[in-house]
Symmetry: C2
Subunit: 205 residues, 2 copies
Amino acid sequence: MNKIITISREFGSGGREIGKRLADELGYAYYDVEVIKEISKEIGMSEEYINNISERGVYPIAFHFGKTFASLSSLQTKQTEIFVKQQEILKKIAKKGNAIIVGRGADVVLKDYKPINLFTYASMESKIKRCYKKATKDEILNDKEIEKKIKKVDNNRKKFHDILGNSNWGQKEYYDLCINTSNIEIKSIIKPLANYIQECFRRYK
Amino acid sequence: MNKIITISREFGSGGREIGKRLADELGYAYYDVEVIKEISKEIGMSEEYINNISERGVYPIAFHFGKTFASLSSLQTKQTEIFVKQQEILKKIAKKGNAIIVGRGADVVLKDYKPINLFTYASMESKIKRCYKKATKDEILNDKEIEKKIKKVDNNRKKFHDILGNSNWGQKEYYDLCINTSNIEIKSIIKPLANYIQECFRRYK
């Protein structure tokens, strides 16, 4: 069975950076937005809309669907279609080879693979700092606005897990390791973290 | 400044084993019951009583105090004396050299040392299994009784933290790393864990 590492993360806590660097260190495939791109290709919906459904929550407004506007009445159908497709794609990824998947409910969908599930979190101060560093020129937000965004994204991630039938998002009991990134330099902890995870996998052999 | 690692742990999650092995790996001094022994020596109370106060909670019954029975009216005074002494001893330990301290509220008392704070936890099933392995011949408890004991000890550890003015016991946000020991073999993760912690300390240099 291939080895799967899933990373759930608070917005701004560096989960994506950990995932990418771990994938390089371990020689695993890395998936994040790639999952969304794949869904988009297969069912012809825009990546933005799929991301809204799968991570950012669904809002009761008309939304962009391919080049047309879908009616609200079809919302449920579209949601279901995306969920099913996402699960298919995640399972396809897991069959391909060892992989690290950030977000997308991979911890729930791929639980038969006995993945190592990580959760990254940080103090609000540290997350805000990271958001400033990563902001594009168009994103001019102040501390309060960033904090509001962080809380909203995390809340939607939690909701997405609830929809998948798992209400444990962010609960330490549900993860193999919970990493506070507030006071660490991510690149410096990758080697020991990779070694730690490899030891965890030995238990499943 | 000396390097301090504190380990808080759910009862039965192997925090003590992690502490001892990490201390060996890193060449740090290790403290657990040693703190209680030291207090006992310095203020002449029995180790059992000190342990009751500092970790297991205090019950309103007559209790053993040296070779006499202390009256309930002196309870507050004795508690305060133990708390003060424990803090003194923890600070003395921290001044001596690099150290790993399991429990005893060291994470709160020694916060000026910017310790790396770990929390170990595990599934109830795994904790019960560990308790069976560690039980002496006199301890004949069934699963339900062990579970009750685990919950009681953890609840008292939480209360002890509350008394120290810190109500974050077991909250992941408060720790640098939270380790689920349910599916790992502790001795196999010690080396990567030690390396991880050493990287964390670099940030405080």
